[in-house]
Amino acid sequence: MTSATIAGPHEVLRAQTRWHWSEIAFWLATLLPFVLTPTYLVLGSQIAITALFALSLDLILGFSGIVSLGHAAYFGVGAYTAGLLSTWGWGEPLTGLAAAALAAGLFGYLTSFIIARFRHLALIMITLGIGLVLQEAANSASWLTGGFDGLQGIHTWPIFGALRFDLYGYTAYGYALAGLFVIFLVARRLIHSPFGLALRGIRENNQRMAAIGAPTRAHIRTIYTIAAIIAGIAGAMLAQTTETVSLEALGFQRSADVLVMLILGGTGRLYGGLIGAAVYMVARDQFSGLNPQYWYFWIGVLLIAVVMLLPNGILGGLSLLARRAKAMS
């Protein structure tokens, strides 16, 4: 009796961390573009990079309740770091990622001291402000960033000195997908750690966290820095695979887009940003093909429809369906 009641809680908690078959199916499906749609691999690489960016936003927004309208700042810092390294003559991709992670992480750590002091609406203003300040700084420092024209002359060396970045995006997609997968594994581990539980506590009730002795600001600084690092890596990957960086990399539009993608896919579920990025970017690609002038009209329709029909995003709707199906059987 006692042994059964003691074994119970561990079993239940461990079951939540196990890989679900649908997760394995998801990652296998990400390999399909190599054979099914080889002409879309360039788009595929951009989706994987944006998915990684959305994953980093999910860590702060979905899991910790930290709203951000300026997350592209860290993406941009990573993109410019990798891009500048390359224009200065060092185009090795993996060390480029490391340098971008370091720079974005440092910027994230510094700004996290401001972020950790605020919640909710105030955070929207502050993150928006950080994004705008950085964008204008990059614009005025045109001797460094190329300003409005963007950074010219980036050349990315082959991965491990062997895998050349080709015109069709085979290498780019493989590179972006591998990066996404590795960092996803890290994020998944983080979410299922004691720290991940503490983040959910902050999201649920920050005041109560203080009343159980939690150093919530220190927690927020840590996760904000981690999210900035991941965003920086995503930005570096975009710079390396497209061999250009423009101000758009750290602009408000990118911050807003990634927020929309995450909400579209479903926040606080790890996969929400991935699904949202794929749906949003494929839809944008298709709509802009159908109607080059008015495609944002259809994006608008898509957003309204998803929010009205699926208030918790695509994944929220799917999990509701799955629960209903289970209840019926």
């Binding site: 009641t5 003691i6 809680p9 561990h10 239940v12 908690l13 461990r14 961390t17 581990r189 983080l190 299922h192 750690s193 004691p194 720290f195 991940g196 539980l197 503490a198 959910r200 506590g201 649920e204 009730n205 005041q207 109560r208 966290m209 203080a210 009343a211 159980i212 002795g213 939690a214 150093p215 919530t216 220190a218 927690h219 840590t222 981690i226």
Partner: protein
């Protein structure tokens, strides 16, 4: 070492012209069960907010044992053993009861910063959390989301969260608020069963519960300590009667 577990000296707090704490002095000996009573608006919850650091006093100091903790942040006071519960449930709605209490245990043991090891590796912490929930009869529902629990069970989760921090001094703000009378007795029985190492101060309006479970009573009126004494002394005190007369005459036990 100080003979008092918790003490306050000359606490003052005003919001504009409204005085919510006026020269409040308290000394709680270790292990005693205190009730804090007083009419609505007397400043009872404010006093708990001041002592736990959720409000800063305009003047005065607070001591936990020998240490002056007046300048410490709320979470630092919790780590030193001064812990509260809330009158209105302040829980983690989308965490299960077990996750909530495990979180509190992990914070106390300083492992909540660890992000590279899975939670399931922390078997001791999970067992301790489950043990606390069992002692409060919550084991059967420990995997339910907190928001799905019955109200009385949520009140118990409040206490479980506080216990998980291993308090030296526990301040309970109307622990039975909103709980039916029958269940509130069970809840107070659980509080009465707490280790005598824990000093307890609770706010409660039900005088039956106050006289049954408190060994000493503090009466607060208009932000001031009117009188402090044993339940018998308080019941016989004419000033206390005067305060309650006409408002809730039936509640005062003669």
């Amino acid at each position: 070492m100080s003979e008092y577990a918790l003490a306050a000296r000359g606490l003052n707090k005003s919001f504009g012209s409204l005085v919510v704490a006026a020269d409040v002095a308290l000394s709680l000996p270790a292990g005693v069960r205190y009730a804090l009573i007083g009419p609505n608006g007397a400043g009872k919850t404010t006093l708990i907010n001041l002592m736990t650091g959720m409000l800063q006093p305009d003047a005065g100091s607070i001591f936990l044992g020998d240490d002056d903790i007046t300048a410490l942040a709320p979470n630092q006071r919790v780590r030193r053993g001064l812990v509260r519960t809330f009158q209105i449930n302040s829980l983690f709605p989308h965490l299960t009861a077990l996750e909530s209490v495990t979180l509190a245990v992990c914070e106390r043991r300083r492992v909540a910063e660890t992000w590279w090891r899975p939670l399931t590796a922390y078997r001791d912490e999970i067992d301790e959390a489950h043990g606390i929930l069992s002692s409060l009869t919550l084991a059967p529902v420990c995997h339910r989301l907190t928001r799905e629990l019955a109200y009385g069970q949520q009140r118990l989760v409040e206490i479980a969260l506080a216990l998980a921090t291993r308090p030296k001094v526990l301040l309970l703000d109307e622990p039975a608020a909103g709980v039916p009378r029958e269940e509130s007795r069970e809840l107070f029985a659980a509080i009465a069963g707490l280790s005598r190492d824990i000093t307890v101060l609770f706010i409660e309006h039900d005088m039956d519960l106050v006289f049954r479970f408190a060994s000493r009573v503090i009466v607060l009126v208009g932000g001031r300590v009117l009188v402090e004494g044993t339940p018998g002394e308080i019941a016989a005190d004419p000033r206390v009667r005067a305060v309650y007369l006409g408002k809730a005459r039936h509640e005062v036990i003669s």
